[in-house]
């Protein structure tokens, strides 16, 4: 009951603010915390929370999904990936459907399991379909180094990693939002550090708070953003127990060794310069895109699907015509309804 008291105290403080303010929680795990604990209903009506492009499954472009599916269809090949990716609809199929149709698609929890599968199947190409932000990119880098050490010639990585800072820049450059602050991701920031976000305050005059994932963390960050209004913009760190100013140097070094920045297509945001990671020339033997000529065909998106607008914070899930009727977790049209971190899934699962 201790926790309930702390939360009630924070809500009481937040309610003292009467200004209309809009904050964006960038990270999908924050979206989950907010929905799961009904925080939106506890906040006063003048405080609006918008979900941002922080669910890695959701921002994966249809073409990237189609590419994964095209790999899965390659005879003899084993495609390994995270469970979340299986149900994401591409233009015409999903990995789950491909698996039901006989493709060898396997769920792994980390790239190390994919390496193990490659060791056990030396005569078959094994691909790790690697998705995620800076949270999962370091382990992908370590995995590729490990594959080189073990001389695993049948192993390669389909790398569609994305990095967050330039996506926030693109979001602000679009000028659609009128945000009063960002609730910045905890896990990503543990890798890249809190200092990375200083450009938000310096160039855009917008404050941000790096926050953890307990209800008290999210509400604490909201209160810090409220108290920051009216004074100079600043990036603060509510999640000091995990996030350091400079991040995790070992993880950053591994990423730098194996990857290089590239332009990347984001669902809803389009191609953003310098917002993706690709495997650099030194490690190209492990780059599935260089080793296999796979053609996904032209990608098609459902016309009424509002995932793009939802990922930009322009629309709330309930404002999509498909939400809850044609698009449900059992029968998802867009990726935001698929991932456990997706804002549509979070809104749907914990709808009131």
């Amino acid at each position: 009951m201790e926790e309930a008291k702390i939360v009630q105290g924070l809500i009481k403080e937040i309610k003292k603010c009467t200004l209309p303010l809009a904050f964006m929680e960038v990270c999908g795990t924050h979206t989950m915390t907010i929905s799961r604990y009904g925080l939106r209903n506890m906040l006063p009506a003048n405080i609006r929370l918008l979900s941002g492009p922080g669910c890695p499954v959701c921002v994966t472009a249809t073409r990237e999904i189609d590419t994964g599916i095209a790999f899965a269809r390659t005879p003899g090949l084993i495609l390994t990936t995270f469970g979340d990716m299986l149900r994401v609809p591409g233009s015409h199929s999903s990995l789950l459907r491909e698996r039901a149709g006989g493709s060898d698609v396997r769920v792994v929890y980390s790239i190390l399991e994919a390496l193990q599968i490659a060791k056990e199947n030396p005569n078959r190409p094994v691909i790790f379909y690697s998705v995620g932000f800076e949270t999962t990119a370091p382990s992908a880098a370590f995995g590729i180094m490990e594959a080189k050490k073990a001389n695993l010639q049948n192993f390669s990585v389909l790398c569609i990693h994305k990095t967050l800072p330039n996506a926030l820049r693109a979001l602000l450059d679009s000028g659609e939002l009128g945000l009063n602050g960002f609730i910045l991701p905890g896990h990503v920031s543990a890798i890249i550090g809190a200092d990375v976000y200083d450009f938000l305050a310096e160039e855009y005059g917008i404050s941000g708070v790096v926050a953890g994932f307990e209800p008290r963390d999210v509400l604490g960050a909201i209160l810090m953003l409220i108290r920051r209004q009216g004074s100079a913009a600043k990036i603060e760190n509510e999640y000091r127990r995990v996030v350091k100013a400079k991040g995790n140097p070992a993880a950053l070094a591994a990423m730098q060794q194996v990857f290089e920045p590239c332009d990347s297509e984001w669902r809803g945001l389009g191609v953003i310069p310098g917002s993706g990671l690709r495997i650099n020339a030194r490690w190209q033997d492990f780059d599935a895109l260089r080793r296999f000529a796979v053609e996904p065909g032209e990608s098609v998106e459902h016309k009424a699907c509002a995932c793009g607008d939802i990922l930009r914070g322009v629309k709330l899930p309930a404002e999509c015509a498909l939400f809850g009727a044609l698009c449900t977790p059992e029968n998802p049209v867009g990726p935001c309804m698929v991932s456990s971190e997706g804002s549509c899934a979070a809104y749907y699962r914990y709808r009131e």
Binding site: Y37, M42, T135
Partner: protein, 333 residues
């Protein structure tokens, strides 16, 4: 000979050998031993409960049990959830050619042991062997018959506003055990399946007669599905307290890691009881005095809020408890 051959299901000498050396040896009872086409059973006058279920779990062996234990417990528990005393089971095996005989023996031995512990007899059975690739190792079907006392009326439709909801112990143990083994998910949760026959516990609860309104075992779909089913059948709602849910720390931690809700995880040795509010504390004491109910807790109550199954979270807010949408898949990060 150490493997199952197609001939073991062919009705000839190999079949007889398998029946004698394996099934009769372990399941040994007069009705089965007579090897008639159908078992003739003596039952008291009145109503019986009758149920069937098929078992296809992968992997077949897991910490805390195997497919055979599951096949006995699952059917025994389904009978017990109507307040019946389970008496007789059938066992049908579909086995893939090439299956290891010693593995089969291990499974059959576990079934015999579990049936004896539950006080039921396996009185009829069948074995089919299918070609390589036509089945994944082994599937088991069991059906069961239980005897219902005249005055017992336990049904998912009987929950009433004001009733208390009791769970017999920690949730999600079986589901998380299987999930951590399946698909090569390498993370180890140091967990055991809770797989257990619950008819003994139910037998003790029946002394509360009409005050036990609903019994259900939250297997596939977990506690979330079971609560929603009860609410839908009874046209009531539920309010569950998150802080009252018994949860092993390793299940809680694994769920957070994988992005899963423990309310969606399967259980194989737990039951949910909906009981009259006036006797709830006494019923709870009976639960806690039983080997399979030591960690029982009152987790919430039935409300008049039709079909709204809600959770009061640990910070005091409420949200609905939704059913899961099919296969549970761990998340990215």
């Amino acid at each position: 000979m150490d493997k199952i051959l197609l001939g073991h299901g062919g009705g000839g000498r190999l079949s007889q050998q398998l029946i004698n050396d394996m099934f009769l040896r372990y399941f040994d009872n007069p009705v089965l031993n007579s090897l008639e086409d159908a078992a003739a059973l003596a039952l008291p006058h009145g109503r019986i409960a009758f149920t069937t279920d098929s078992y296809v779990v992968t992997p077949r062996f897991f910490p805390g049990g195997n497919i055979g234990k599951l096949a006995i417990c699952g059917t025994v528990n389904d009978l017990a959830m109507r307040g019946a005393y389970p008496r007789y089971l059938s066992a049908g095996f579909i086995i893939e050619e090439g299956f290891s005989l010693s593995e089969l023996e291990e499974i059959v031995r576990t079934m015999a042991h579990t049936a004896a512990a539950a006080g039921v007899q396996i009185v009829t059975g069948d074995t089919k062997v299918v070609g390589k690739g036509a089945a994944d190792g082994m599937f088991i079907n069991t059906a069961g018959i239980g005897v219902l006392d005249e005055h017992v009326s336990i049904s998912a439709a009987n929950a009433q506003p004001g009733d208390k909801v009791i769970i017999s112990g920690t949730i999600g143990d079986h589901g998380m055990t299987i999930l951590s083994l399946r698909e090569g998910l390498s993370f180890k949760a140091n967990l055991e399946s809770d797989c257990a026959p619950l008819n003994g516990l139910v037998g003790e609860l029946l002394r509360f007669k009409q005050d036990i309104h609903v019994l259900r075992d939250p297997t596939r779909g977990g506690v979330a599905s079971t609560l929603n089913e009860i609410a839908a059948s009874s046209k009531t709602g539920m309010m569950i307290n998150e802080t009252s849910l018994p949860l092993k720390p390793q299940v809680k931690a694994s769920c957070e890691l994988l992005g899963l809700d423990p309310l969606h995880l399967a259980n194989e040795g737990k039951l949910i009881a909906v009981v009259a509010g006036s006797v709830a504390e006494q019923v709870l004491a009976v639960f806690q005095g039983h080997e399979y109910g030591k960690d029982a807790r009152i987790i919430g109550e039935v409300t008049a809020d039709t079909r709204r199954v809600a959770l009061r979270t640990f910070i005091g807010s409420t949200r609905i408890i939704d059913i899961s949408s099919g296969e549970l898949l761990p998340r990215i990060c």
